[in-house]
Every structure is written in structure tokens, then in C-alpha cells.
Symmetry: none
Subunit: 202 residues, 4 copies
DNA sequence: GATGAATGAGTGTTCATTCAT
DNA sequence: TATGAATGAACACTCATTCAT
């Protein structure tokens, strides 16, 4: 996955747009004038840097997800134990769950995002690269757990990865539908998925 | 969850529209004329039954998901063992994974669908009801497993539900990203998530 | 030259547009909304009948020139002598000289009109057909003169056609630049070019 | 007709623009950035010398036509006989016929050019001056013919001018529509119009 | 002087919605 | 009841013009 370099202006446009989406605006109803306003620039300037509205939004999503992965990776690295690292992931989900431009949304969207943003189907801007990155991170996390002696069973790598992705998904599902689990605190939910994780890996 | 009754014409409109989406058309680019054409009726007729394009699409999604749940429920009921029932769920996912109007897409979309179809936020058309239905189904499945003696551990109900949702999610993730798991057959993936399920529930 | 059939609505659009151009509006500054207003219809309706603004204007020009040729032909036919017919042509030029959509403008524009309306370069809408029609008319006029015994010399057909086109052009030049010929009345100009015509053809 | 003096930069802008038009670009689709690129200067520089795009194009046309007249006049002067001079005019038309900025296009466009470039209607930039110049040239040509004894008849000056303009027009018409006169060579066409000229003037 | 990045007014085109038939 | 022709509000995109450097 190569890092595409963007100019300051392009990044400013991305940031304004991402902000808009974070605020809950339906990405499909965003107007070019909204993007311009959010970035505090003229409408025409957008077209000096991008070929179409579609392109701005697509690239902004890619950019945002890339940034988010960097952030998560960095944050995880500050933790010293397998458990702390895993909880750090859950914490991050908790913070970003409402963020429609989050890596999580991308991962769990069942390939849906490409359906909506046809631009993302192009090789150059593919989100497939992110899947790979996430895989690498999960593998590193698992190595950490094995080194620590927390993961002992000789399950296949695939089994382990599926377990991690599964518990992450179910936690985010919980968080998205808290109303159905009013008697379960977030702390309990985290502990529960961690318990599932350990049982599956041992 | 009350069952809303639709007229034949309304259902015809839904079916044409759902068909369109299943064919891969970006729901956001569907025009009223497309819906009319797909349903083989005049454009104006749509407005005799619905108040807006938004409403047609939203209700069609609700309708489609409801139908899908009925189908899955019926199919599961034909199986006699816990394992067969669980595998039936995986089989269904396999068949519907590319279906953007599937219950799975709704469940895992992290609340995304409402972001896109504001209409779905209205109480009357809420998809929350489906979450409840799915919960009930999962509970029934778990009862089945306990009765059969396959689930023995005294984990909390929440733990069990989270496990089931987690493995379903990870399987659908696998299926969506098969390219990253070329050496894993679908059969192996199913066996793997079933193994995770058993380990977590025992 | 086949006659393209247009619907009433299309013709209404043409007429409004032609009217606009006749009023002196620069065709290149005409807006779709102007065309719609002139035809007393909604802007969108234009696009139900034509694919683009360019197409409307191009087809309107073709239509208008075709109609004009029909009119001139009919008017000429009402005259019984060679001289009367020729003067009828001059009279028509006099009336249409300010008309930017006139056949004359097309003929003398040195192929310019296609430069401006790229659409007119397409075979289907070519104005070449008109050149042919005009040729036929000129030939008929010359036959008439010969029958009458007014044209006696055995000049080539090409010589005769060039003469007719030449005097028509010079008369229209005169009429366009009357300011340079303040002492020459239109009657005198007509008589002069008729005299040139006779000298060249005899 | 006074000669307007232009700076080197202004002339460079004119030349680039004229070149563009000669290459067949629709004058109405030329962008300021195109003009700047063609002149190899910055876009802003154009506005240091002209008030608007309209002004650049209008003045460039005026300039170009003026230059062309100078060229023709000079070339004609190199010829010693009436016939040679007249044929020189035809030769020039032959060379410039495809040139949309040519004096010929202006003269025969039935006042059309002003319709398109409103700026040209202003007194200061009027093309009327050119009409006068052309008249003078034609008169000089006619004097030459009389002196030589080739023009003998006592036709009015108006008759003579109309004749010259007529044959020039018909020749340019021939050249523009060569496809309709495939069996007539350019040489024959020239001879034909010269013959018409002589018949009318004698 | 010269530039070109930035602007936003302006316009072609689309399409949800209406309503006469 | 059903239709689809007609509409015009809405919006993506362009490009003449400006102005800070």
C-alpha cells in the first residue's frame, strides 16, 4: 500500500468534508458548495484539485480511513500487554462508532461502500489495501498474545483472525444497539467479548 | 413488530425496486422512472401509493428485510439439529452476501443505513424491530443447542448472543474478502466459525 | 434531401428560437431558459425533445433555412417572367437580409456556420443539401430565361450559375452596406445587378 | 481609417489568438486560458492589456483583417496588368478561404460578424473602415483596367464595383463548395469569373 | 510588470413530482 | 384508476476575472 501524497489544500478539503460526514450529514446529500464552505474555499477551487464531486468524496474517505488506521496503530503501540492492546481497540471503536468514515464502517459494510462510491472500485483508490493492513495489525496483536503466553492453543491463523474480527464486530454491534442491552454496561460488554476471545484462542 | 399489509401493486413496486438493487444498481442513483419501469407501471402510479421516492425505497428495504427474515426462519426450521441450523444460517449468508438489501447488510452496517435513508429513522418504519426478531431467533437457536446438549457452559445469555453474532459477522467478512483467504475454502471457513462458536459456548 | 418530420412541440421550440435570433440576439449567448421562455414551455421540456442546447439550435437553423427555401420557391413560382422572378429573389433578400438564419447567410458565410455549430457538420443535419436545392432553383430560373429568349448566349452552365450567384451576392453586399452607397437607391441597385446579369448571360 | 498602434505584447496576444482560430477552433469556445497559452503568457497579463476577453478577440480580428488587407494590397501592386492583378486577388482568396479571420469572411458575412462580436459594433473598432479601404482598392483596380484599355464600356462606377464584388463572391462560393463542381477546375473557375467580369465591364 | 491560484456568478442538464387526460 | 408529458427547483461544473505575490 503506497502512500499517496496530498497537498495542503487537498487535505484541507478532505478535513472539511470528513467533518461534515462526522456531523451526520448523509454523504449522498452533500453538495459541492457544502464541501467548499466546510473547507472555507471557493467552489471552483475544488475543481482545481479534483475532477468531480465523486472523486473528492472517494479520496476523502480513503484518506480518512488511512489516517484512522495510523492513529489506531499508534495508540495500540502505547500499550504494553495483549489485554491492554485489545481493550484499546475496543476503546477506539467506542469513540468512532458513529463515524461513518471509520475503518470499521468500511470493514463491516459487506463491500457496500464501493456500491455507493463507484470511484472506490478503481484499483488506484481501492480500499482492499486497508484490509491487508488490518490483517497485519491483527497478526501482530496475536503474536503479542502468544509471546505473553495468553494465547496457548494451536488454532490455525485463520481461526485466530476470524475470532478477533468476530469479537470486534459483535462489540460494535452491541454499541450500535445499546438500546437492546440496557442492562449491559459497556465495561461488561468489553469484558464479555474479551472472554469470548480468550475461550476461542485457548 | 406488527406486520404492515401492502397491496399487490405496492408489493409489485417493491419487488421491481429490490430486483434493481440486487442487480447492483447504486440505490442512490435509482430514479423514479427506473422504479416505474422495473415495476412495469407508470411513473405517476408510484405517487398514488407512496408520498415520495424516499418513502418507496425505505419501505421496500423494510419489506425486503422482513421477507428475508421469514425465509431464513422457515429454512432454519426445516433443520433438526443445532449444527444443521447454524450451517443453514451460514448457507443463507453465502447466498445473500452480495445482496445490499439483506438483513445482514442492515445488521452489520453499524447503523449506516439510516444515515443514508433518513426515512428509516422514523419510528413507524424503524428497522429496530428486526434487531429484536433476530435476537429471538438467536435465542431459539441457543435453546435448541442447550436441549441437544451441545451447549453446556453456563455463560450469560449476552455472552452467547455476542458469540453467535460475532461468528456470523466474521464469516460474512470472510466471504466478502475471499481474495485475502484464497487458501481457505468456504467449507473450512464454516467449520472454523462453528469451532469458534462451540469453544465460546462451552 | 429528405424531409425530417418534427412534432408540433419541436416546431414550437424552433419558432421561438428563430424569433429570438431574428430579433438580433447573438445565437451564442442564447440560454436554454431563453429558448424555453420564447417557446412558452418549461426548461425541462426542451430536453424531452432534444439532447442538448447545441442540438436545438442546430436543428432550428436547418429547419428555418428549409422553410425559407420553400417560401422563396413558392413566391418565385407566382411570377411569370424571368425578370419578375429575378426581382422576386432580390425582394426576398431585401426582406431577409437582417435575418441571421437566412439561406443567404448560410450560402455566403464561407462555410462559417459549421465552424460555429459543430452539430451542423454531422451528415444527418448537413446544410450541403441546401446548396443542391439552390442550384436546382437557379437552373430552373435560367431555363425560364432561355425559354423566354432573354438569355441567348451559349455560355457554360457553370458560367451562368456563377453569374447569378455573383449578382445575388453583390446585391446583398450593397444592401448590407447601404451607408457607403447613399446616392444609390435600392431600385437602382436592383436594376444595376439585373443589367450585370443580362450582360454576362448574353 | 486611422492606424491603431499596438505594443509588442498586444500583437503577440493577437497572433496567438489568430493562430488558434486559423487552426479551426470555434472562436466562441476559445477560453482566456487558451489565448494566454497560445501567446505564451500568463492569464492575468491579458487583463493588463485588454479589458475583457471580448475585447481581445474583437481587436485581434480587426488587427488581423488590417494586416491581411496590407498584404493583399502589397501583393497586387507587384502585378503589372489588370488581369494579373485580378487573378492575384483570386489567388489570395484561394489561399485564405479557410481562414475564418480573413477579410473575405468579414465582407461576405452579411454583417454577421458584428452579431457575434458585439464589440465590433462600437465605432472605435468598427469594421466599416475596411469596407472603405476595399472600395478604394477596387476603384484603383478599375482605373488600371481602364488605363490599359481592357475596360471600355461607360458603365457607372457602382455597376463596376458591384461586378467586381460579385465575381469575387461567386469565386469564393465556388471554392467553398468545390464538391458541387467536381468537374470544374480552379483554373476554369478563375477564367470563368474573369470572363463574367469582362462581359459586364464591356 | 507578470503570474496563476482562487473565486463565484452563471448555466446546462437532471429528475422528483404534478396533473390533465 | 393509471399515465407520462410537462415542469422548474436544484446542483455540478465552467471559466472570465481578480489580486496577492
Amino acid at each position: 500500500m503506497e502512500d499517496i501524497k496530498y497537498s495542503d489544500k487537498e487535505i484541507a478539503i478532505f478535513k472539511g468534508l470528513i467533518q461534515l460526514i462526522r456531523e451526520g450529514v448523509n454523504p449522498y446529500s452533500i453538495k459541492v458548495s457544502d464541501i467548499a464552505k466546510a473547507a472555507n474555499i471557493g467552489k471552483g477551487t475544488i475543481y482545481d484539485y479534483f475532477g468531480s464531486k465523486e472523486e473528492v468524496i472517494s479520496k476523502a474517505i480513503i484518506y480518512s480511513v488511512g489516517e484512522e488506521i495510523k492513529t489506531i496503530t499508534d495508540r495500540i503501540k502505547t500499550k504494553e500487554s495483549f489485554k491492554d492492546r485489545f481493550y484499546e481497540v475496543l476503546d477506539t471503536i467506542e469513540k468512532n462508532i458513529n463515524d461513518k468514515v471509520s475503518i470499521l464502517s468500511i470493514l463491516v459494510s459487506s463491500g457496500g461502500i464501493e456500491k455507493f462510491y463507484e470511484f472506490l472500485r478503481d484499483k488506484e483508490y481501492t480500499i482492499s489495501n486497508f484490509i491487508e493492513l488490518v490483517h497485519l495489525e491483527i497478526k501482530e496483536l496475536l503474536d503479542f498474545g502468544r509471546t505473553e503466553g495468553i494465547i496457548t492453543a494451536k488454532e490455525t491463523e485463520f481461526h485466530q483472525i476470524m475470532t478477533v474480527l468476530g469479537v470486534i464486530s459483535s462489540f460494535s454491534y452491541y454499541y450500535n444497539n445499546k438500546d437492546f442491552h440496557k442492562n449491559i454496561s459497556t465495561k461488561e460488554a468489553k469484558d464479555t467479548v474479551y472472554r469470548i476471545l480468550l475461550k476461542s484462542l485457548n
